[in-house]
């Protein structure tokens, strides 16, 4: 579904990604982790073309992201993305947040889009909040709305960039529960997260990054059981003592 091959990216002289390659097959859940500044966000944003890259190739459902002829908005409309800071549109009601892209991008009718949005809102347990504005919801609630907003586009896969790291601890689980459910339904997911409990539960593989490189790309049992690199070992030790 997602294929990343030998991707490198630099900002001027600063190398952010070096020769990164990995795959996410249909129905798989991949967790990407690594220290701050290792290039996780950059890599995941390359997948839907929010960040350009200089060499290598990425294809999503067979479509090349780096190809200048690719209709990027169209491709992005088929790839859901959830951000660390939710990024709901604060000037729109929750209902409008859920329907605006369905209407303006997919050309759905207003009633159809609203219905679909409300169904997904119900699914993430927030039906009662349809007429509120994002600023009136807690962080965890906003993030669940953001997931529903992405799902409303009927995505073929979902990208998550640290969806719980801006949340108070007591709200993390309500978001992870939604993500676990999504994974169990067979959604293809690429998740940057440090929630190792989530990784253990649903991930097929773990990708560990450091200094712009993919240092490990392993199934979860070998990653947690016996990480090959020293850096991954240190990282795990640090994260698990937290």
């Amino acid at each position: 579904m997602i294929s990343i091959q030998n991707v490198s990216k630099h900002y001027g002289a600063f190398q952010v990604l070096t020769d990164c390659s990995t795959e996410v097959n249909k129905g798989e859940v991949i967790v990407v982790c690594g220290p701050s500044g290792s290039g996780k966000s950059t890599l995941i944003k390359c997948v839907n073309g929010l960040e350009p890259f200089q060499s290598g190739s990425i294809t999503v459902d067979g479509i090349s992201v780096g190809d200048p002829k690719t209709n990027l908005p169209k491709l992005r409309s088929r790839v859901g993305m959830v951000f660390q800071h939710f990024e709901l549109f604060p000037h729109m009601s929750i209902t409008d947040n859920l329907s605006i892209a369905q209407i303006k991008v997919l050309g759905r009718g207003k009633d159809e889009a609203t219905d679909k949005g409300l169904k997904l809102l119900d699914r993430v347990g927030l039906k009662a909040h349809a007429d509120k504005f994002p600023g009136q919801l807690s962080g965890g609630q906003q993030q669940r709305v953001a997931i529903a907003r992405a799902l409303a586009m009927d995505p073929i896969c979902m990208l998550f960039d640290e969806p719980t790291s801006a949340l108070d601890p007591e709200m993390i689980n309500e978001v992870l529960d939604v993500m676990v459910e999504l994974a169990q339904e067979g959604m293809t997911m690429m998740c940057v997260t440090h929630e190792m409990g989530f990784a253990r539960k649903v991930a097929n593989r773990i990708v560990f990054m450091d200094k712009g490189q993919i240092v490990e790309d392993d199934d979860k049992d070998s990653f947690f059981g016996n990480p090959r690199s020293e850096r991954a070992r240190q990282f795990l030790a640090k994260i698990l003592t937290h």
């Binding site: 944003k45 992005r76 549109f89 000037h91 303006k104």
Partner: protein, 229 residues
């Protein structure tokens, strides 16, 4: 001791009101056009197309470095001739109002574009990313997501600029137009009561602008309270 004599004002009120209408007309027109053109300029300045950004920056810097009264004079001298040439108007058609409007609007757009540029930049970058990630084009992201938030944040500044602009309309007297200030001057000149008329005009400007500023302030307080919530 100077003897004030206000007796020429009541009879002149209808004439002064006509002048006020001209002032308000110029203000409204310059605000609307200034915001529209200013928005385009601001987007051009923030564009990644370098020549476009450069042109917009030059425009803004040029108009901000020239006194308004000179712009108005140029437009008083040039625009009427151009209009006459283009539309084959006969020499009698009064195009001074149009010329004052055009000059004003072009000038104010430079100031509005700076306010709007700051407003656009005040919207977090993540909002564009989120809009793009949903499949919106750059234009859609701007129109549906960034600009509405930018304008909501900017309303107080835009209104404050409109108040400044309303005061600036008095400068159209250089084109011998009977705006409110021009009308007051004419009446005062005719009756030999210039001091009284100009004091009266000043008081009217003060009352209008002060009341408007207070209203903007109240609105801003409400807005801040809403954002904090």
């Amino acid at each position: 001791m100077y003897e004030f004599d206000w007796s020429s004002i009541p009879g002149a009120l209808p004439f002064l009101w006509e002048g006020m209408k001209v002032s308000l007309e110029i203000t409204a027109c310059a605000v609307l056009f200034g915001i529209a053109w200013g928005t385009l300029l601001a987007m051009a300045r923030l564009s990644s197309i370098k020549p476009l950004a450069w042109l917009a920056a030059s425009y803004v810097n040029l108009f901000r470095a020239i006194p308004l009264v000179m712009v108005l004079l140029w437009f008083f001298l040039i625009v009427p001739q151009v209009l006459r040439g283009v539309f084959k108007l006969d020499a009698g058609t009064d195009v001074r109002l149009a010329s004052a409007l055009v000059g004003f609007a072009l000038f104010e757009a430079a100031y509005y574009s700076e306010i709007i540029r700051a407003g656009i930049q005040s919207v977090p970058k993540g909002q564009i990313s989120a809009a793009s990630a949903l499949g919106m084009s750059y234009a859609q992201a701007m129109r549906l997501v960034v600009l509405p938030q930018a304008f909501r944040n900017m309303v107080p500044l835009l209104l404050t600029q409109a108040i400044v602009l309303f005061q600036d309309t008095s400068l159209v007297y250089v084109s011998a137009l009977a705006d409110f200030f021009g009308a007051a001057y004419k009446v005062g000149d005719r009756d030999g009561r210039l001091v009284e008329l100009l004091l009266f005009a000043g008081a009217v400007y003060f009352v209008i602008c002060f009341a408007a500023s207070q209203a903007v302030r109240r609105y801003q307080k409400k807005l801040n309270a809403h954002v904090a919530h």
